[in-house]
């Protein structure tokens, strides 16, 4: 393997050429320039002036100083290097960490537990005051502590629905893409059937079933979102698997005698995960929105669960006189959703090196 002759292990290209080297190059270049100036063209009375750039202006070719010993960066390391300086990535990660922290330890953020605190009707639609910075709902409850308390349900729905969609859609998509043939055809049609049922319509119908209607809660909602949401992930996973199925490393793994299942598990799925992770991050946001819409229609979370969606739909009746009980949970929801979408966008840019060149 070719190695740069200056063997010190400085990885950065600019540091690769040391000062003495530059000085050594300088006189040669100067001589060359002089020679160029003095050279007369045949048949011409005038000396043609050739401009030769000063050596300082000529960039040192990066290839000469690249240390080729190191293994190339993996897709994920490369993506990380790309991401860590990106403002949208940093902002969205901070917001998501904050939201997760609130979901886990709400007691650190509120001054009183909204599930045990008394809501006084004398405070109904009250303005913001010290200790109640977001004012009161129509029932006289503190909006701030309800927004804090609602974080957990909303995030749980989004997170677990996404997890379920990725696992189920991922498995089905991987099997369809890997085995192809009639398996693929059957699974694709199955996906189409669920795809043809729009999310809200499907949820409306399913939620009327006694088994679901009588057990309304976070997990029922997660189940419905997974049931109606998996085909999207399956399609993307299938496409990604088809793309890597015939890659050289897969052929070599197979010819080394790795079983079909292990090839899929160890070699194909890890290499097809990138687009799935991107779409999963974005759909996490859309699932949180879906929760609120379904809660608004009265088929989402039951009224005794505190969630942003429930609070928004509770506040809507008094919206014209007191918009704040709608505004604050709405803001919390939008910021969370926004961070997941921004994170997904940043991941997409980082994981798709093709899009980066422009």
């Amino acid at each position: 393997m070719h190695k740069y002759e200056n063997t010190d292990t400085t990885p950065s290209p600019n540091e690769g050429i040391t000062e003495p080297t530059r000085e050594r190059l300088q006189p040669e270049a100067a001589e060359h320039a002089v020679a160029g100036n003095q050279k007369d063209l045949p048949g011409s009375a005038l000396a043609v002036e050739h401009y030769i750039a000063d050596i300082d202006e000529t960039p040192v070719a990066a290839t000469d100083s690249t240390v080729a010993d190191e293994a190339p960066l993996s897709l994920w390391r490369d993506a990380w290097r790309q991401l860590r300086t990106k403002p949208t990535f940093i902002i969205s990660v901070i917001l998501i960490v904050l939201a997760v922290a609130i979901a886990f330890f709400p007691q650190l953020f509120w001054s009183e537990d909204p599930s045990s605190a008394e809501c006084l009707l004398q405070n109904s639609n009250g303005k913001a005051s010290s200790g109640h910075i977001m004012g009161f709902t129509a029932q006289g409850c503190d909006v701030f502590s309800r927004v804090i308390a609602g974080t957990r349900a909303s995030l749980t729905v989004g997170l677990f629905a996404t997890l379920g969609v990725v696992v189920i859609g991922g498995i089905i998509g991987a099997i369809a893409g890997y085995f192809g043939g009639w398996v693929d055809a059957v699974l694709a049609r199955l996906g189409d059937i669920f795809f043809a049922l729009p999310l809200i319509l499907g949820a409306l119908v399913i939620m009327q079933l006694p088994a679901f209607r009588e057990n309304r809660g976070v997990w029922t909602l997660v189940a419905i979102l997974v049931l109606l949401g998996w085909p999207q992930v399956a399609r993307i996973m299938r496409g990604a698997v088809v793309e890597v199925r015939n890659a050289d490393y897969v052929t070599s793994a197979r010819s080394l005698g790795v079983s079909s299942f292990n090839v899929l598990l160890r070699h194909i799925i890890p290499n097809a995960m990138a687009p799935v992770i991107v779409i999963a991050t974005i759909s996490l946001g859309t699932f949180i929105v879906a929760e609120s819409t379904l809660s608004y229609l009265g088929i989402g979370l039951p009224p005794d669960v505190m969630s942003w969606g429930n609070d928004i739909s509770d506040g809507k009746d008094a919206f014209r006189s007191n918009p704040m009980p709608v505004f604050w949970p709405g803001l919390a929801l939008s910021l969370t959703v926004l961070s997941f979408i921004m994170l997904g966008d940043a991941l997409r840019d980082a994981l798709d090196p093709k899009s980066r060149k422009k």
Binding site: L197, I200, Q208, L209, S292, L333, I341
Partner: protein
């Protein structure tokens, strides 16, 4: 081309059957004895109950009922719901309203989404681009019913630019505000999709060739960049019809639009299974056909695509 169309229609059949069967199955597991709803508090006499069971084929096995129903659907006979009204007549009144609403929403999101997205994609990284991108993200992140309330309040009540609720006739003009609300989220998606696609195609070789051979900028943009960027957008618009139909349930409720969405919601809360099944199966059928049309549109958008 014809062969392709034939193949696609063949593929459509199992999807349509599967989806309607699924809905039919789910709805007929709904609680509530249909006869109890018909006869009121006193309950039917055994003779009436037997006659009604006979009339509505309630004793038939599930699959037989389903096949009967499908037969009715394709001959235009949707039957009556449990309160004795013709489902066909309910749909007849509600369907044109929702169709107007959906068309306005599609036109809004299609035209404005493409225009803004095209401009943002051509000026990638500039102020307009980043502003529009941030706004589109915010629109996506807000639930549709919150957007509906906000626009209803500010545009309808405060500014008085449009009527906050729609009258019984629901003409084109009245439906503009609900349609904008309905299409707003998809507008943001169309915009982002167009922008990405345009930014990608603007650097393509054929665009450089087109510029090099002396075409005007306008023609390069219209014929070479825009047309090639439309495929993902068309795909999205086809799939989006489903989301619009779902969103219609919310939007029609808020703006009091007498359309399919509000009928569906009413039927669901009343446990009126036949109406629900009819509406959802018709929506699924429309959705499938729309996506078929989108597939056929590909060939017109990109002549390199040939159907074998």
């Amino acid at each position: 081309m014809l062969w392709y169309l034939f193949k696609r229609i063949l593929q459509l059949i199992p999807v349509f059957l599967g989806a309607t069967l699924l809905v039919y199955f789910l709805v007929f597991m709904l609680p509530g004895d249909p006869l109890a709803a018909l006869c009121g508090e006193k309950g039917c006499t055994p003779g009436v109950a037997a006659a009604l069971t006979e009339k509505y084929h309630l004793d038939d096995p599930f699959l037989v009922q389903y096949v009967n129903y499908l037969g009715g659907l394709f001959t235009g006979d949707l039957g009556v719901n449990f309160s004795g009204r013709e489902i066909g007549s309910i749909l007849e009144n509600a369907f044109p309203v929702t169709a107007r609403l959906a068309i306005e929403a599609l036109v809004f999101e299609g035209i404005f989404g493409v225009i803004f997205g095209l401009y943002a994609g051509l000026k990638r990284g500039k102020l307009f681009d980043s502003t529009v991108l941030v706004i589109s993200l915010i629109v996506i992140a807000i639930p549709i019913f919150v957007l509906a309330f906000m626009l209803q309040f500010f545009v309808g009540v405060r500014l008085g630019l449009a009527k906050p609720t729609v009258s019984g006739t629901a003409g084109w003009g009245e439906l503009i505000l609900p349609a904008v609300v309905l299409g707003l989220v998809s507008f943001a998606y169309v915009l982002r999709l167009t922008r990405t696609s345009v930014a990608e195609n603007a650097n393509a070789d054929y665009v450089r060739t087109a510029t090099a051979k002396g075409l005007t900028r306008g023609r390069v943009i219209r014929v070479h960049i825009l047309r090639n960027s439309m495929i993902p957008v068309a795909t999205f618009l086809g799939a989006d019809l489903g989301a619009l139909m779902g969103g219609a349930v919310v939007t029609e409720g808020i703006f009091n639009v007498p359309g399919i969405g509000s009928q569906l919601y009413k039927a669901l809360t009343l446990g009126d299974a036949p109406t629900v099944v009819s509406i959802v199966s018709i929506m699924v059928l429309i959705f499938c056909v729309a996506n078929l049309l989108v597939d056929l549109l590909y060939a017109w958008l990109d002549p390199r695509i040939r159907y074998a």
